[in-house]
Structures are given as structure tokens and as C-alpha cells.
């Protein structure tokens, strides 16, 4: 995974550099009685930038070019991520209980290829459980959608 280390190192380098610049430009290094709010962030940024260099070098020196970062199952992760993001975006319409229950049911279908009937029963049962357990019993004010759940 030589390129993974290079990508990771580069990302850390950028994060370190951005932190250093932001801390230097926007936060005072010293305060009235000693170090200011920018003191620690500045040094953290510098530490990140410095530590990213060996990671990049490790990636460049790695001779094993066979290991792959992504696998066929990565597509399933992407599907689940899309499902989560879609449901979260639709929560104002679906409501929290129904929306989260939908993730459980759709996840069963997507990943486990369970029968549709089992998935539908899971969605209904889970929505009822979330509504009563968290919404009623634990009094967490879960947002309700147009469906009232």
C-alpha cells in the first residue's frame, strides 16, 4: 500500500501546514499572562507537518506494490454511506424514528440480501421501538417528520 502512505502523509502534511498557517495568522501566540490561544495549535501544526515527512518517505521506500487499498466489498461500504446520507437528508420528511428504521431494513437488504418481508417487518418493528424507547421512555426529543414519526 505504498501509495496509501503517500496519500496519508500528504493529507497530514496539508493538515499540519493549514493548522500552522491558521494558528500563526489568526490566533495570538502569547497572551496577557503567558502563552496565548495560538501557542499550542501552532506547535501541533508544526509537529504534524514534520511527522508527515517520514510517512511519505515510508511510502516512497515501500517496495511492495501488490497490496490494494480498495477491495470489491468497498462498493458495499459506499452503498451504505449513500443510504445513510440519503436518509439523513430526508429526515425532515421521514422523521428520526422512521428514517433510522429504514437504514436498518435497507441495510439488511443491501448487505445480507434478506427477504423483503423480513426487511419490512424490521423497519416497522424498529421504528416502533425507537419511538417508544428513546422518544417516549427516555424523553429524547427526536425530530418528527411529515409522517409523525
Amino acid at each position: 500500500m505504498w501509495y496509501a502512505n503517500i496519500i496519508a502523509g500528504a493529507a497530514v502534511f496539508l493538515l499540519g501546514l493549514t493548522t500552522t498557517i491558521l494558528a500563526w495568522m489568526t490566533l495570538p501566540y502569547t497572551g496577557e499572562f503567558g502563552p496565548g490561544p495560538g501557542f499550542l495549535p501552532l506547535w501541533l501544526g508544526i509537529a504534524l507537518t514534520v511527522c508527515s515527512i517520514p510517512v511519505i518517505i515510508m511510502g516512497l521506500r515501500n517496495k511492495d506494490r501488490t497490496e490494494k487499498l480498495f477491495q470489491p466489498e468497498t462498493a458495499k461500504c459506499l452503498q451504505v454511506l449513500i443510504l445513510i446520507v440519503t436518509v439523513f437528508l430526508s429526515l425532515p420528511f421521514l422523521g428520526f424514528s422512521a428514517g433510522l428504521a429504514l437504514i436498518a431494513g435497507a441495510g439488511m437488504r443491501l448487505i445480507g440480501k434478506h427477504r423483503w418481508a423480513s426487511c419490512v417487518v424490521t423497519v416497522i418493528g424498529t421504528a416502533v421501538c425507537i419511538h417508544y424507547l428513546f422518544g417516549q421512555w427516555l424523553s429524547i426529543p427526536l425530530p418528527k417528520g411529515m409522517t409523525g414519526w
Binding site: 495570538p28 503567558g34 495549535p41 501541533l44 466489498e73 439523513f88 437504514i103 441495510g107 448487505i111
Partner: protein, 507 residues
Amino acid sequence: MDLLQNLYTGFTIALTWKNLLCCTAGAFFGQLIGILPGIGAPTAIALLLPLTFSLNPTSAIIMFAGIYYGVAYGGTVTSILINVPGESSSVMTCVDGYAMAQKGRAGAALSIAAIGSFLAGTISIVLLMSFAPVMARFALRFGPAEYFGLAVMAFGLLTVFGSGSPFKIIISTVVGILISTVGMDGVSGMPRFTFGMPELLGGIDFIVIICGLFGLAEVFNSIEEPESGRLIKEKFKLREVFLTWQEWVESRWAIARGGIIGFLIGLIPAGGITTASFLAYMAEKKASKHPETFGKGDIAGVAAPESANNAASISGFAPLLALGIPGSATTAVMLAGFMMWGIRPGPLLFTTKPDLVWGLIASMYIGNVILLLINIFLIPLFVAMLRIPYSILMGFIIIFASIGAYSVNNSMFEVWLMVGFGLLGYAMKKLKFPIVPLILAMVLGTLVEKSLRQALVLSAGSFDVFYTRPITVVFLLIALLAYCSPLIRMALKKAGYGKVAINLESL
């Protein structure tokens, strides 16, 4: 006498029906979660946080503790029956536990793991009871410089006990501290890294990060790399879990040694339960008259690591309660739980909240007894749980993580942040960056910055304060040695002392 009086007070608190129920529920869920793949102890505690909102702090902390050591017990079942450790601390149990199961002694392996955990856990509680107050009294001498040194030492020790590239460990640690700086600066009141978002002014809540890094990220990782293993025994009869006299004789000293090693390692900030079980296994192999039987189903090879991991999980409470320094990701989540209830662990906790501390310690005795009974009589039920497909579990992890994040501020902003941290956790695992240092640093970040700035304010900006105070010097020297440990190891290897390298496959 004070100790016994305190313990008596603790038992009167722990034995109320509500706390007893919390302890039992925590131990049961912990055991269950330890068995289920893809949910570790920190995730379990973070996900179950919303369920404790209706409890008082003592009951909630007792429940978390039950989950914590319940997970240590639970991880064993999968190690022995399907050769897949439920927790990293159970890795060593796989070696001889699975071999025992293949020989038809799965029941005995599960039994000695439960008995060993119980006995070593009890030893550890007794030692914790005596040691933690002493540690707390010693910590009363600590000023900001000592606390800064202590936190830096804990970070440094992560490079010794953690696995993987030391640079990646340091990067994870620094990112964790950096995350803790987001929000309003405690001294000047100036917003830092909030990018104009008012939701970030209060900082990023620890629960949101845990739900993302451990809950959601684990879902993605488990989908991509499902843990697989063949269940070696599906049905158990009660008589199969009883040990023979010979098996007991072979394992009793392994339990004692494992318990003591576990206790000592658990006391070290960032020492880790996994390290304890590994060292106990190696020590037992060295002490054994038949080291060649290790790896082939030796019962001492199950008893030692299991005793050590339970003892370490209990003694890990000493630095947490007495110093306010968590030793592992799980105790870091527990610290977040303490803080959620407005309790700041540290040397004064023993005097300001004796009911909580001693109630918690007494509940550990009760929890250990409950877990022993659960492990002997409910094993068939837990084995049945192994058949639940991950596609079903996954949905429930997402539900609990989302509600956990939402309930922090009753806002969707935290839920989206949780998704972001889920992706960060997934990327970190893929790129082999350890998550535990990030969690510990995130929890201790505020303490590090506060103590660093206070120390410098008190010394009028002079750094002398860090090398003129003996305790601080010791902490910082240990930290320096720890950070240099990869270089020391490399030098030793070059000088021909490198044969001690840890190699799991060789065991």
C-alpha cells in the same frame, strides 16, 4: 479500618436494587457485546450512553463499568469457539483456547477463562481498593507542571505499547489534541478553528467522535473485511463446562501470575489490556515445565491471558479514578461519561464523591460474581448469539450511534459530524493509523493545554518549571525514553539483541 468502612459503604450503595440491576444489565450487555463482532467496549459504552440519561451518575457509572469488564469476559467466547477474538485483548486466548476447542474441550476452556477472570478480577479489585487511594493521596502533590508531564508521559507510552509506525501514533495523538482545541479558548475566550460555525464554539463533543470513530467506522470496516470463522461447537451441555481436578491444578498458578501481571500493566497509563494478556501468556510459557504444549491447547495458555486481561481492565480504573488519566480508549470513554455527569475524576474524587467511588468498587465484586454465573450457566445462549448475521447488527449500530450523537445537543449538526468522524475512522483504519491515541489525546488535550499554560503563567513564562520539579522531570524523562523507544529497539536489533521481537505467528 477506613478501607473496610469505605467498602461497607460501597456495598450498601452497590446492593440497592437499582444499582444491582444496572450492574447486572451492564455485565450482561457487556458480555453480549464482547461476543458480537464489530462492537468493542468503547463503542458499546458510547452507544449505550443515551440509555443512561434517566439514571443517577452512580448507577450510570456502575452500568458502564459492568459493560467494560463484561466485554473483557465476552471476547473470550469467540476466541475459543471460532478463533476470532471479540476484542484485541482476547487475541492470545485464541492460540490455546481454539486448540482446546478442537480437542473437544471448549467447555473447559470457556470455564477456566471465566474462573480465571473472576479470581484475577477479585485479586485486582482488592489491590485496586488499597492502591487507588494511595495513588490519589500522592497525586494531591501534583500541580499544573506535573499534570502536563503525566499527560505527555501517557502519550509517550502509547508509542511503546501501541502497535504500528511510531510516527503514525504521534500523528494520531497530535490530531487528537488538535481536535480538543476546537471551540472557545478556555483562557482568552477566543474562538479557535470554528470557521464561523456557532455549533463549534462549545467544542466537539467526545460522544460524537466516539460514535463516529468506533460505531460508524466499525460498520464500514466490518462490511469490507467481515470477520469469519467456523463455529466449532454449537450446543453445550452444562456438565461439559466443569473442569477436571488436573485442569484446575495446571491453571491455578497461571491465574495468580496473570492476575498480578494484569494488575501492574493496567496501572500504567496507556499500558493496555492487550499488552497485559500478551505479557501474561509469554510469562506463563516461560514459567511452564512444558512450554512445548503452548499453542497446542494448554489450559494455562487460556487461564493466564484471560486472568491478565480482566485484572488489567479493573486496575485501569486506578489511574482514571485517582489521577483522571485514562489508560485505554474504554476508560477514556468512561472519563467522558464521568464528565457528562459533571464529575471530574482525580485525587479529590475519593473525598468529594466517596459514594460513587466506593459504590463503583463494590459493584466490581458483584459484577465479577454475576459474570462468573452468566459464563457458566448462559453460555448456550451466548453461543446462539454468534449466529446473528452482521447485516442485522449493522443497522442497530448505526441507529444507536446516530441517536447517541443527536442526543448530545438535540441537533442534526452533531449527527453529520458523527458521519464525518465515521469516515475519518474508516480512513485511519485503512491507512493503518491507530485510533486509540487519537481518543486518549482528545480526552486529555484540554488537560494538557490547560496545565501547560497554567504552569507557564505560574512561572512567569519560564520553562524552568518543567525541569526543576522532580516529579515532572521523572514523567518527562519517561516520556522522552518512550518516544525514543523505537530508536532504542532499532539500535538493540542492530547490536544483535533483536530476537525478542514480538511475533504472534511463532507462538
